[in-house]
Amino acid sequence: MTHKLAVANLNAYYGQAHILFDVAFTVAPGEVVALLGRNGAGKSTTFLSIMAMVERRSGTVLFEGDDVSRLPTYAIARRGLGFVPENRRIFADLTVEENLMVGRQAPRPGAPGWTPETLFALFPNLAEMRKRPGGRMSGGEQQMLTIARTLMGNPSLVLLDEPSEGLAPKIVEQMAAAILTMKREGLAIVLSEQNLHFARLISDRAVILEKGRVRFSGSLAELEARPDIRDAYLAV
């Protein structure tokens, strides 16, 4: 089977600043890959580049074997590549149900299908606040909503940008459980994190970025065996 996602030679720029240097990694169907690196390493920029949401970038992005690097953002999302940005970016004036409605796409063969009801089962907290505006939810609830919103598009792969950032330990556990459920449904996931704590609960493989370059790529077991790499490139 080919890769679900194959990124190669990815370069990205903000104005004159060169941020990503030939970033490359692959994701197999149903696989969870952790994209690790300290703050400012280029994780978010990698995701934004895949989604065509940075001003200027070059390289190839193969999704299910097709080059999507020339497509506009919405067309990439329509192919089943879901994106959960950092800082949540929920629509603050829209209710929980309305936020989910925005994410809705037709069911996709070969990808797990979601409805508001199955998502409320995945994130029970949300079920209790269907009519609440997104702006009046706690950080953890917002994080759940933003994931649920992306799942409404029935993606076959999601890019999750630091889903555990700023969450209370209890919520982090819920989040890990939810992501494992997503994985069990057959979803491929790329998860960005600054450290291993959360990523090791769910990931199969890890890719480490530093200053916009890939410094390590291998299984989680291989990474666990290399404390030097962990100390050099990851936050504690």
Binding site: Q16, M53, P72, F91, E98
Partner: protein, 652 residues
């Protein structure tokens, strides 16, 4: 008491159309971030098309069908405009968007003239609603009652659309975070087109609904757009509820203003708008708008004052201009004087919009105030011309001080709308206050003193006034004050961190610009020998903006070149065709889309490219190296730069 009631009902009925237009404007802005100046044009088109269709389709069913069909047809035109023009300028600075849509307004004015002719057209009464209903002993037209009921119905309908349909929810989501909506798989292109179509539909319906009340005429577009701007400034841009409440407020102020201050009724609206701005700068129901995506004037070649060699060139140019009376005839000299005056006008606006980053859409007000100020001094005090030319700008300075005080608390589109609304109020005072200003008849007999009576002498006088004024403006740009002004333009936060008081700096710039414009206005009064309210109407303000744009917004000498070229072209055009607005509007649109750097900016680009190619000197080599670095690498995925990003690209 009965009179009050009648006025109240009239005000409510007028509010309906105003609400439709303003809510359309608000909805479009919410999603696309474009303030659609052409909204008034669509309102007018709605009325004209409805006039034609009600002629064709009669009977009760035919009439209502005609109104809806008119709105739908105009909405389709709006969608086509969005797809062909607006899609190209979504990333452009706000000023360009406003100007492009104003260009469309100009074109529509002439198209309407071509299609429907110059006469006011009186449409049919609404079948079944032609009579009146007696309430409290007063007869209220039933059509007014229908309109009064319609407003809340439309508000409710919009609420349902935005809360009970997926499309409406998508629109609200896009208003909050456009790129997130795209990341969720929604093609914004069609969302934008749909929203624009909806907004235009509302405006056109507002126009169509007016035909049983008022004659369809050519002034409708600008009148309604100014009122709609006032409404959204008061109600809050992006809020339909705000548009509803503010439309009622403004309509009531208009209705009662006639009773309370018959001479200057619009002053009431002015006062209310001023109070709202002080208490709630983003309007009653508005929220602080997101920062502009690209501001004008920023990220340009570093400006520098004229080098000694260039000063010599400038002096030679002035000397050459001074010799023009030797070979130009009377008419040509009058034209040349007018061009000189507008050079000063454009340069004064440039200080505000390019140096200060504040695009005023009402700069003509200060030009006009200067002219009226000079006229008052001559007529009331009987002072000689030179005293009048010196005193006239004081009135402009006063007006700019008052308006500027409110205006600088805002920026971007709010600033543009506010300055436009204030200028329109100044205009209407000149128009309404007949005892003082002569109203529409203007003030006549402002002849220059004997020594400047000949066209040549007046030309020299103009040159002798305009040249030092330009030099002074140039010195202001390169004074510490000018640097502070640019600092707040480029980064308000950083400028305030080093102790620059943004509001104070911008307010002073507003007053300086207004005073300089007023000086031009005072000269203009004597050049023409008369002064009419129209000199401070919207077209003059927009002419100024186009001059600066044509010359090059991001250049120092742009306004001078732009004013000369624009004024000469415009005068030539008017002599050549009856449809100069059509051509002018098309030119404005083309400028914004294809030529946003203007003449001076483009010439400077050529010069840079030429010197870079020759590769002479280290600084040039650096420039060329940078130019290549700025090119995306081969096989890049970057979208083709839009004109606006080209305009905004930095060069060392």
């Amino acid at each position: 008491m009965q009179l009050v009631f009648v006025q109240f009902m009239t005000g409510l009925a007028s509010a309906a159309s105003l609400f439709l237009v303003a809510s359309g404007l608000s909805i479009i802005f919410g999603v696309t971030r474009i303030v659609n100046f052409a909204h008034g044009a669509f309102y007018m088109l709605g009325a004209y098309v409805a006039y034609t269709l009600t002629d064709r389709f009669t009977g009760a069913f035919g009439f209502w069908f005609a109104l809806l069909a008119a709105a739908a047809i105009v909405a389709i035109v709006g969608c086509l405009l969005e797809m062909t023009l607006l899609r190209r300028i979504y990333q452009a600075p706000e000023l360009f968007q406003l100007l492009a849509t104003f260009g469309v307004t100009l074109m529509v004015q002439d198209l309407v003239l071509l299609i429907w002719g110059p006469e006011d057209l009186v449409g049919p009464r609404a079948p079944g609603l032609a009579g009146a209903v007696e309430i409290f002993g007063k007869r209220i037209p039933s059509y007014d009652l229908f309109l009064i009921a319609l407003g809340p119905l439309v508000l409710a309908g919009l609420w349902l659309l935005f809360h009970r349909t997926r499309w409406g929810v998508l629109v609200r989501a896009a208003t909050l975070d456009r790129s997130m909506v795209a990341a969720l798989g929604i093609n914004q292109k069609w969302l934008f087109t749909g929203v624009f179509g909806l907004g235009v539909f509302l405006a056109a319906l507002g126009g169509a609904l007016q035909i049983p009340r008022d004659a369809v005429n050519h002034g409708m577009d600008l009148r309604i757009i100014v009122e709609a701007f006032v409404v959204v400034v008061i109600g809050g841009l992006g809020s339909t509820t705000g548009a509803f409440v503010a439309a009622i407020l403004v309509s009531q102020l208009n209705a009662f203003g006639i009773l309370v201050l018959p001479k200057i009724s619009l002053v009431l609206v002015f006062l209310v708008m001023a109070v709202v701005l002080v208490v709630r700068p983003w309007g009653l129901f508005g929220t602080r708008p997101p920062p502009a995506q690209a501001s004008i004037g920023m990220a340009v070649r570093p400006w520098r004052p004229l080098a000694p060699g260039e000063i010599a060139v400038a002096a030679a140019v002035v000397a050459a201009v001074a010799l023009m009376p030797l070979w130009l005839g009377h008419y040509a000299l009058t034209v040349a004087s007018e061009i000189l005056i507008f050079v000063l006008f454009a340069a004064s606006l440039h200080l505000l919009m390019s140096v200060g980053g504040l695009a005023s859409f009402g700069h003509a007000a200060y030009f006009g105030l200067g002219a009226y100020g000079a006229a008052f001094v001559v007529k009331a005090a009987g002072l000689p011309m030179l005293a009048a030319i010196a005193a006239g700008p004081l009135l402009a300075a006063l007006g700019a001080a008052v308006v500027g005080w409110f205006a600088v608390s805002l920026s971007g589109v709010y600033f543009a709308m506010l300055t436009l609304a204030f200028s329109q109020i100044v205009w209407s005072i000149a128009f309404q206050w007949v005892d003082v200003t002569g109203g529409d008849n203007g003030i006549l007999g402002l002849w220059p003193d004997a020594f400047a009576a000949s066209p040549a002498a007046f030309f020299w006088l103009t040159l002798a006034v305009v040249t030092p004024a330009l030099v002074w403006l140039h010195m202001v740009i390169f004074s510490p004050f000018g640097y502070a002004l640019r600092a707040v333009r480029d980064s308000e936060l950083r400028a305030e961190a080093i102790g620059i008081d943004r509001r104070r700096v911008q307010w002073i710039a507003f007053v300086i610009a207004g005073t300089a414009a007023g000086l031009g206005g005072a000269l203009f009064a004597f050049l023409k020998g008369s002064i009419f309210p129209d000199v401070m109407a919207i077209p003059t303000s927009v002419d100024g903006l186009v001059m600066v744009l044509l010359g090059g917004v991001e250049t120092v000498l742009g306004p001078i070149v732009g004013a000369v070229v624009f004024k000469a072209l415009a005068m030539w055009l008017i002599s050549q065709t009856d449809y100069s607005k059509l051509v002018l509007g098309a030119v404005v649109v083309a400028l914004v889309v294809a030529f946003p750097k203007g003449i001076v900016g483009t010439l400077a680009d050529w010069r840079d490219r030429l010197t870079a190619r020759r590769g002479a000197g280290p600084s040039d080599a650096e420039a060329s190296a940078d130019a290549t670095a700025a090119e995306p690498p081969a096989g890049t995925m970057a979208p083709a730069p839009s004109p606006a990003t080209v305009a905004g690209r930095t060069r060392p």
